[in-house]
């Protein structure tokens, strides 16, 4: 009698051939290994890909908009709104700066304070689309003077995050909206109510505050920089009748996912002391 043997088959490997999916998996793991072992080489290789993707994305946006006048007007409107927000934030920042400088008038400016005013301009190489990782890969690294802990500013001098990893040519910035970030800032018309701001991911932030505090939708939220600088606006106040406090939902002053360049500045110990975030040796 002829006996039939059952061939034991593996989903990944078989005696006849290796699944191409398995090979792709090994390839991707190797790529991840390259990023961990030689991050600078990895980012130098992938930076042109990200730049091409960015150009294509902008080009397609413009192409789609050119099909109708309404879309063009919407784009122009969007641009004007962001410009207006930036100017408004810059104005707020200048008001705060005047107040801080007035206090310093009697004391001469130290060399370290002068250095705080000048920054390093860096292009945003990659930004994840709204995702759990609110981070930027920036085109400036240790070779241009970027160091861990520098504060990251967007258009209009709005603080948006902190440098968390640096390689020779690139650096990574973690945004205030990243889930691990905790910033001690202020809220109110005169930035006089201290609050703790928590990153919620996807560009959003939140804070808890006593119910008795006089806070309304539209109030500006400030973070430490040189003085106190506006980082967002209260868009919603969640109130639970059984809880003693309220939760503020904060929208960032700048849309972090449309920023193309940033400025990096060393804002000193006051800023780093106001932050609480995890550190890692992995760039």
């Amino acid at each position: 009698m002829k006996r039939t043997f059952l061939v034991k088959r593996n989903a990944l490997l078989s005696s006849t051939k290796i699944s191409w999916g398995f090979l792709a998996l090994v390839g991707v793991i190797l790529l991840f290994g390259v990023r961990l072992i030689a991050p600078n080489f990895f980012w130098n290789t992938f930076a042109p890909v990200f730049r091409t993707a960015d150009t294509l994305s902008t080009g397609s946006h413009v192409l789609i908009s050119s099909f109708s006048t309404t879309a063009k007007l919407a784009l122009q409107n969007e641009h004007l709104i962001s410009e207006n927000t930036a100017l408004s934030n810059e104005n707020q920042a200048l008001i705060q700066k005047i107040a801080s400088l007035s206090e310093l008038l009697d004391s001469p400016m130290k060399e370290s304070q002068k250095n705080m005013m000048s920054g390093i301009i860096a292009g945003v190489v990659s930004r994840p689309p709204e995702s759990p990782y609110d981070s930027f890969l920036l085109s400036s690294g240790a070779s241009k003077g970027v160091v861990l802990g520098q504060e990251v500013f967007g258009m209009g001098g709005v603080p948006i995050g902190i440098i968390s990893a640096v390689t020779d040519d690139f650096s990574r910035a973690i945004l205030f909206s990243a889930p691990s970030m905790v910033v001690h800032g202020w809220i109110g018309a005169h930035a006089n109510i201290p609050i703790t701001i928590f990153g919620s991911g996807g560009g959003a932030m939140s804070a808890s505050l006593s119910r008795s505090a006089d806070v309304a939708v539209g109030d500006k939220v400030f973070a430490p920089g040189p003085g106190s600088l506006p980082i967002g606006i209260v868009t919603r106040i969640d109130s639970d009748p059984t809880a003693p406090g309220v939760t503020l939902r904060i929208q960032p002053a700048l849309n972090p996912f449309s920023i193309t360049w940033v400025e990096l500045r060393d804002t000193g110990e006051i800023f780093t002391e106001s932050l609480s975030w995890t550190t890692s040796t992995t760039p």
């Binding site: 998996l25 709204e130 990893a165 691990s180």
Partner: protein, 84 residues
């Protein structure tokens, strides 16, 4: 040909397109190759993972869960005892 095009677009979409489209493409590609969610997850984490934000690479984790689910569904769908 469609299979290669779909899987290729899935990888490109990690860099180029918004994440909901990538998720859709990953679901579609996993019909052809169950390991695709895991591979795309690791690829996305290679590009975007920031250990300062999360201790665990989330995209890889999601990919692992989806790949496990796809393998499970495929094993259930293989109702016949006859093998090639």
């Amino acid at each position: 040909m469609i299979r290669v095009l779909l899987i290729g677009t899935t990888f490109v979409s990690v860099v180029l397109f918004p994440w909901p489209l990538t998720v859709f493409l990953v679901f579609a590609s996993s019909v052809f190759e169950p390991l695709i969610p895991l591979i795309v997850g690791i690829f996305a984490d290679t590009l975007y993972y920031a250990p300062q934000v999360y201790a665990v690479p989330l995209y890889t984790l999601y990919g692992m869960i989806l790949t496990g689910t796809v393998f499970f569904v495929r094993s259930r769908l293989r109702a016949s005892t006859m093998r090639e």
